[in-house]
């Protein structure tokens, strides 16, 4: 890929990316007069393998129908495919029951679903003016704004964990933050900006000790590591399909069955009912209670195919690959003069998203000059503006890796950053 592949050979734990990359048509693209695409924006969205694209096509070409309605062949096939995807997701996250897997359109909707359920819930779940909600300063806006709305609508107090200078959660005041008043604690498993992997157990233990519900945003975890909802011991886990090789428009909310049974619906409509009269309705059991209207059927089928693809390679092996790439990338990035990593500087308890600033050069300019070399990174505040405020920076450049990322792409990034410095120097 570039001239400097000398160190690449020494990395251990790498996947056979030559073979994997052949499955991803877009990775063959050449940009800007023949430069190979170096796609390092995986924390925003992943690319899609042919197996997922084929599943989408096959669904529309052979099986398309609405689900859970009608008795014709296509309706039954579509239903089996859609519900089959639920089985695959349930197995992927080690859910005790397939009925605990609710399909949504993305992680934002999953988190909003929980926040809204808690607004309308009866005791003991109800969030009211006496309650407190705890989040963290490193959340994506999708795990901040729904709780702000819940707080504004109910009068509940919103509190949050701060961050250490190294980009980790500051748990030193956990006993003041999580108290008897806390009704819900919601936090990200892996930060989309800092890359930090959070200490789930310490937070869950404390939350359980006061009887608070635990919600985990696993959007940046599900694509990259083994996700076991039983081991997490959370009450709800949210993630999205498009960051894990699936199409856009499909997300997941896993919730403990008893909670899904007890809590009220979010959206009303077709699919989520048992019986309807003009005066009132009764609701279908979970998960259908939370899936009003025609769901994203093809997208769910695509998510099922993505789960098959990831499982076929193995999430442990994917995590090991990304760990090796991240370690190498951190080491090489720190060679670039004036480069400041925002987040942990070692690969310990760290995901594959690396944010940084480059002297006074604005990330927009960094991204533009990298793009000219075929390198796709994300620039801006990454929907986590409070993190930027915390570290006193307007924005960052972020490179984020995935199972198809190579050490050669890290080299290309580093070379590109030298070019950026020369350009604006």
């Amino acid at each position: 890929m570039t001239s400097s592949t000398h160190e690449s050979a020494v990395l251990s734990g790498l996947l056979d990316t030559d073979a994997i990359r052949k499955d991803f048509p877009v990775l063959q693209r050449l940009l800007h007069d023949g430069k190979p695409l170096v796609y390092l924006d995986n924390a925003a969205t992943s690319q899609k393998p042919r197996q997922v694209l084929d599943a989408l096509n096959a669904y529309y070409e052979r099986h398309n129908a609405n689900v859970h309605r009608g008795v014709h062949v296509l309706a039954e096939e579509a239903t089996a495919l859609y519900e089959g995807a639920r089985d695959k997701v349930a197995a992927f996250v080690n859910a005790p029951s397939r009925n605990e897997v609710v399909f949504t359109k993305n992680a934002s909707e999953s988190l909003n679903l929980v926040a809204n359920m808690l607004t309308w819930a009866d005791e003991p779940y109800r969030v009211d003016a006496e309650s407190e909600i705890v989040i963290t300063e490193m959340e994506h806006h999708s795990n901040i704004v729904p709780w702000q709305l819940l707080s504004q609508r109910t009068g509940a107090k919103l509190k949050w964990f701060g961050l250490t200078d190294e980009g980790r959660l500051d748990l030193s005041n956990i006993d003041e933050l999580i108290t008897e008043k806390t009704k819900v604690v919601s936090f990200t498993l892996v930060s989309n900006l800092l890359g930090t992997v959070n200490p789930v157990e310490a937070i869950v233990r404390k939350a359980q000790s006061v009887g608070a519900l635990v919600v985990i945003d696993a959007s940046q975890a599900a694509p990259h590591m083994v996700l076991d909802v039983q081991a997490l011991e959370a009450d709800f886990v949210a993630f999205t399909g498009h960051k894990m090789l699936a199409p856009t428009g499909i997300g997941v909310l896993w919730g403990r069955q008893e909670l899904l049974e007890d809590l009220p619906p979010f959206l009303g409509g077709g699919e989520m009912i048992e019986t309807v009269t003009m005066g009132s309705s009764t609701y279908a059991p979970a998960p259908h209670k939370f899936e009003a209207g025609t769901p994203p059927i093809a997208q769910a089928v695509g998510l099922g195919a993505a789960v098959d693809y990831l499982t076929g390679i193995g999430m442990e092996r994917i995590a090991a690959h990304e760990h090796a790439i991240t370690e190498y990338a951190l080491e090489r990035l720190l060679e670039v003069p004036d480069l400041r990593i925002i987040g942990p500087r070692t690969a310990v308890d760290r995901g594959a998203a690396i944010s940084f600033t480059l002297g006074d050069i604005h990330p927009h300019d960094v991204g533009q000059v990298l793009d000219e070399q075929g390198i796709a990174v994300r620039v801006g505040h990454h929907c986590a503006r409070p993190v930027c405020l915390r570290y006193g920076i307007p924005a960052t450049t972020r490179a984020s890796f995935y199972l198809y990322s190579t050490p050669g792409e890290v080299d290309a990034l580093v070379e590109g950053l030298h070019h950026v410095r020369n350009f604006f120097g």
């Binding site: 300019d365 000059v369 801006g380 604006f424």
Partner: protein
């Protein structure tokens, strides 16, 4: 080489040595942000009758947004509000030209260097940030101190 069409030397010069930067006395102040990238500007307009006597600003952002604010200061200070608005409209038209416009150098002077930026939809907002702030601040200043001539 497409990059050079965006990052013209004129733009980089204005970025490195911005004209009129810093907040000074004004009749109206606005704060505009570009939510997609975090660029921000606080801008003040000082009018004397219908003449723009100063445009002062504090801003943070990319080279395009910083250079654009500097060029704005060059172009509108000393003009009447009407003349300055004509420049602003010409700049807006250039930025919306999707790479097709060249801009009238008589009207836009250094600002024609931004023609290349109009090819990059994600960057047009950067170039327009200060100009939209100026338009807003001027409307506010006029509302508070209507021009008499």
């Amino acid at each position: 080489m497409k990059l050079d069409s965006m990052y013209q030397d004129i733009i980089l010069d204005h970025y490195r040595n911005p004209h009129g930067k810093g907040l000074r006395d004004g009749d109206a102040e606005v704060h505009h942000v570009n939510p997609t990238c975090g660029d921000e500007i606080t801008l003040r307009v000082k009018l004397d009758g219908s003449t723009v006597v100063d445009v002062s600003y504090e801003s943070q952002g990319c080279s395009i947004s910083q250079a654009s604010a500097s060029v704005l200061n060059d172009l509108v200070v000393g003009k009447t509000v009407g003349e300055a608005q004509a420049v602003q409209e010409a700049f807006l038209e250039l930025m919306q030209s999707k790479g097709q416009g060249e801009g009238d150098e008589e009207v836009l002077e250094d600002a024609v260097a931004f023609a290349g930026v109009s090819k990059y939809p994600a960057r047009v907002k950067c170039a327009l940030l200060s100009w939209m702030a100026w338009k807003d601040a001027t409307a506010k200043a006029l509302a508070e101190h209507p021009a008499t001539d």
